[in-house]
Every structure is written in structure tokens, then in C-alpha cells.
Amino acid sequence: MITALMIAIIVLADAAADVFLTKGMRQIGEVTSFSPRELFAVAARALSNRHVLASMLFMAMHLTGFLIVLSWADLSFVFPATAMVYVVGTLAAKFVLGETISAHRWAGTMLVCLGVGLVSIP
């Protein structure tokens, strides 16, 4: 039960990190140049953006949760279970970020989720 709860927290934290990072990067605007000057300017704006900072917090939560659950559960169980993030992330993209998910994209996402699960089985 505690393992299932931890995996739910890990998946939700990972999806939340992706959603906040996306929100933050959209506020910052499209990054089209890779000149060092432009990259430093974007990095400075990113580090002062609340959504990007929240994303980092959720990334830290995800990593901590992952390490904690690995102290008693097998990686071969934890890794495939966390592949659910592709589905949760896509649902969040639809309902939180307002993206349009076509049938093709859904089918592709489900195959990716299943594939990552299979790859993680030893």
C-alpha cells in the first residue's frame, strides 16, 4: 500500500514538474536563439519565474520519492510503474494546459507507456 502511494506521489510530482516547466517556458517566450548571451538572459528569466521554480521543487520531490521507494522496492517494479507519467502528463497537458490531443497522439502515448513498461522489465 505504501509502495503504491509512493509511486502515485512520484508520478504526480513528475507530471507536475513537466506542467509547471511548460507553463514557465511559455511565459518566458519562445527560445529561438542559442547564442550564449540569449541563453544567459533566458536562464536569468527562468530562475526568477515562479512556475519554473515550482517545477524544480516538484523535480526534487520526484527524485527524493524515487530514491526513498528504491530503498525497499525493486527498480524493475518501480521504473515500469512510473511510466504512467506519460499518460498522466498527457491528461494534464489536455486539462491544465489546454492542448488538443488527437487520436493519433493518444494511441502513440499509450504505446510509448506500454513500451517503457516492457523495456523496464529485466
Binding site: I28, A93, G108
Partner: protein, 149 residues
């Protein structure tokens, strides 16, 4: 709908991000294995482990490649859907399996190769869709900074 050039650029950025992450992971894996093979790790001596990590060139290089990955991941999220980038970036798993098999001589089972095939089909399906369906507010950065504070 984006132009074909923009779509190609986004896919190229994701491609470089995926390769950077795979190289970073292989370097980190090689570095950590070489450290633990040299002498067993005692986790209570974290200071000693930290110094050994810094003294193993492949680890700082690996971290450098992972930083490149993160910059490119964030960049593509500024230009494309999360629901496009998230499954597309999973091709990292395919590159990781191939790298583990080729560079680290790890055995890859038939189940894993089947997983790789499913991911490949899934990524092709996702990449064929338009990378951007959201509407970015094209406000100048100065205006955003005022709003966000």
C-alpha cells in the same frame, strides 16, 4: 499548425536532446561503475565519494551532457506541446537500450527489444501530429515581468 521548417527544427532539437541524455547516462553509468569497481563504496563516507566522483572525468562530462539535455528540453517546451514533447522524448529509452547494449555490453532481453519496437511506433505516431496546438501569448518579456511580479 506550424510550418514544416519549424516542425523539423523542433524534432531536430529533440533529437539532439535525446542523444545528449543518452551520452550523459552512459558516461555517468561508466563513471559510477569504475568508482565502485576500484574499491567498495561506503555511503557513510559521502565526502570521500564526492571527491572520487569529481576525480572521475566521465562524471562531470556526463553531468554536462545532462545540462545540455535539460536546456534543450526546456527550449522545446517553449515552442511545442507538452503532450508532443513528453512521448517524443521517450525515444531516449531506445537510445539508452542501444547504448547499454553496444557501449556497456549489457544483455538486452527479447521483452526489452519488444518494448523498444512499441516505443518506436508510438513516437512515430506522436511525431506525425502537429507539435503545437496551444496559443502562446506573444507578449513582450518586459510586459510579462511586470505581470508576474
Amino acid at each position: 499548425m506550424r510550418t514544416r521548417t519549424e516542425q523539423t527544427e523542433i524534432i531536430a532539437l529533440l533529437g539532439i536532446a535525446i542523444v545528449s541524455q543518452a551520452i550523459g547516462n552512459v558516461l555517468l553509468s561508466q563513471g559510477m561503475k569504475s568508482i565502485s569497481e576500484a574499491s567498495p563504496l561506503v555511503w557513510s563516507d559521502w565526502g570521500v565519494i564526492f571527491l572520487r566522483v569529481l576525480d572521475t572525468p566521465s562524471i562531470p562530462f556526463g553531468v554536462g551532457f545532462l545540462i545540455i539535455f535539460f536546456v534543450l528540453f526546456a527550449t522545446t517546451l517553449s515552442r511545442a506541446d507538452l503532450s508532443f514533447v513528453l512521448p517524443a522524448i521517450s525515444s531516449e529509452v531506445i537510445v539508452n537500450v542501444a547504448c547499454a547494449n553496444y557501449f556497456l555490453q549489457e544483455t538486452v532481453s527479447a521483452t526489452r527489444w519488444l518494448g523498444v519496437v512499441l516505443i518506436s511506433i508510438g513516437v512515430v505516431l506522436v511525431v506525425r501530429s502537429s507539435p503545437k496546438t496551444f496559443g502562446i501569448e506573444r507578449e513582450p518579456v518586459v510586459a510579462w515581468e511586470k505581470v508576474d511580479r
